[in-house]
């Protein structure tokens, strides 16, 4: 087994990995990924949904190789350290719904917790509202956890249960590499303008994604666990990794001249433009991330963590990831992204759904075996 003295499990280990992820994210942006979006699990999953034709928002369709590479990096790490363990049974359908709601909330803010940190490190002050919402959502989740909220136990399962998601991700990775077009008006789609058209070279994205997946599986890096453990147990272990990520991305952004502070960007002639892939409707930035933060907290981890867990055999985390993919399609098809017309309704309905899951969550179940 991997003992508690493992370097990856140490404070030094999680800080080093946070620094590495921050550097990798800023570098991926420098190499072509969209601004303040070197890595974003929500945005990239949304782009994949677009590439597959699950939504038709033309500017955000690209089969991002980073997400499958995350999963496969974690898969390799889990196999190498004998931690691959097929398991399921902890309310899979509720995890699917939580994944959907988390994605809908994140896309109203326009970013997952990872991108919230990267937007902050790039000087987009709208991220402050998003992070405040995220922490508030996690805080509400902590209240549920304190009174015994649980989605129930997972149980060891058959090998294919654990292998399903890594195989799906391997297929996605191959599609990302070869990018076949199956016909006119058929997948795979690829944006010709907008964020979906901006991408680092595929090989670099894959290598970077595999490294992040491997390191994050070893350290259990989690941007939601960071704030949850701080509020719930005064434990700053995971938070120290997230702070390291922001610090590294900030320094790299300064070096690459990618830091541009403000709620909007102001050019030398005084004209203003929005921060990249961002809006300034503060209450939506805040409440969107309340919805996302609460959903992630009840599901046990941030979107990145769910992808990594799906790589180490967790079939329930895989359901959460599929929920995110579905949520991305719903968000765009029903005009609920950013400050679009139906975003406020999405927040209200999403919160009702997720609070219901929280309220009806049973106490930690007794062991059966």
């Amino acid at each position: 087994m991997t003992g508690p003295k493992d370097i990856f499990a140490s404070r030094t280990g999680i800080i080093m990995v946070g620094l590495a992820i921050g550097c990798i994210a800023a570098s991926l942006q420098k190499l072509g990924n969209p601004p303040n979006m070197g890595v974003c699990v929500a945005c990239f999953t949304r782009d994949i949904a677009g590439a597959l034709g699950l939504h038709r928002a033309g500017i955000v369709q690209y089969l991002r190789p980073e997400i499958p590479a995350f999963c496969l990096g974690a898969f390799v790490a889990a196999l190498a350290f004998r931690e691959f363990r097929p398991r399921t049974g902890s309310s899979p359908i509720l995890r699917f719904v939580l994944g959907m709601c988390a994605m809908i909330g994140a896309l109203i803010f326009l970013g997952c917790p990872w991108r919230a940190m990267l937007r902050l490190a790039g000087g987009d002050w709208n991220a402050i509202l998003g992070i405040a919402g995220l922490v508030t959502g996690i805080g509400i989740g902590v209240v549920f956890l304190r009174v015994g909220f649980s989605l129930g136990r997972t149980y060891q399962s058959r090998f294919p249960v654990g292998l399903a998601m890594p195989v799906v991700m391997l297929i996605l990775l191959l599609l990302a590499i070869f990018y076949p077009k199956f016909g006119d008006n058929a997948a795979l789609y690829r944006s010709e303008s907008g964020p979906g058209s901006m991408a680092a070279p595929v090989a670099i994205s894959i290598i970077a994604g595999m490294i992040v997946g491997f390191l994050a599986q070893r350290t259990r890096f989690c941007t939601v666990g960071a704030f949850r453990d701080l509020i719930l147990m005064r434990d700053i272990h995971l938070l120290s990794g997230v702070i390291a990520l922001v610090a590294a991305a900030f320094v790299m952004n300064l070096i690459f001249k990618q830091f541009d502070p403000g709620f909007v960007r102001t050019a030398a002639d005084g004209t203003t433009s929005p921060q990249p892939a961002a809006h300034t409707v503060h209450w939506l930035n805040f409440t969107g991330m309340v919805l996302a933060g609460l959903s992630f907290c009840l599901a046990g981890g941030c979107p990145g963590r769910q992808v990594f867990l799906s790589g180490e055999g967790d079939g329930d985390a895989a359901m959460f990831v599929l929920g995110m993919l579905t949520g991305a399609a719903i968000s765009h098809n029903f005009l609920m992204v950013g400050n679009q017309a139906l975003a406020p309704w999405a927040v209200v309905i999403g919160l009702v759904v997720v609070l219901t899951i929280g309220i009806t969550g049973r106490s930690v179940p007794a062991a059966t075996g």
Binding site: A9, S150, T154, Y155, G225, L232, M233, A366, A367
Partner: protein, 72 residues
């Protein structure tokens, strides 16, 4: 003879194993608590929680179940 409390946290998501461990350690008047988990992640989380409260952990694995013996 002191009664040793056992926390069965097998199959539970973050942060429940660490939280249940913390609650048990704060509640108990004894000197030993046993925690059962089934992933290396939860071994690390529960060990960290115990050590923060001044307890020491010894782990042994048997057929996919990790038995953490916590002593103060």
């Amino acid at each position: 003879m002191s009664v040793s409390e056992t926390v069965d946290a097998r199959g539970l998501s973050c942060p429940q194993p660490a939280l249940l461990t913390r609650q048990a350690l704060k509640r108990t008047s004894g000197k030993e608590v046993t925690v059962l988990v089934d992933t290396a992640t939860q071994v690390q989380n529960c060990t960290r929680t115990a050590e923060q409260l001044g307890w020491q952990a010894v782990c042994e694995e048997n057929e996919g179940t990790f038995r953490l013996r916590l002593r103060r």
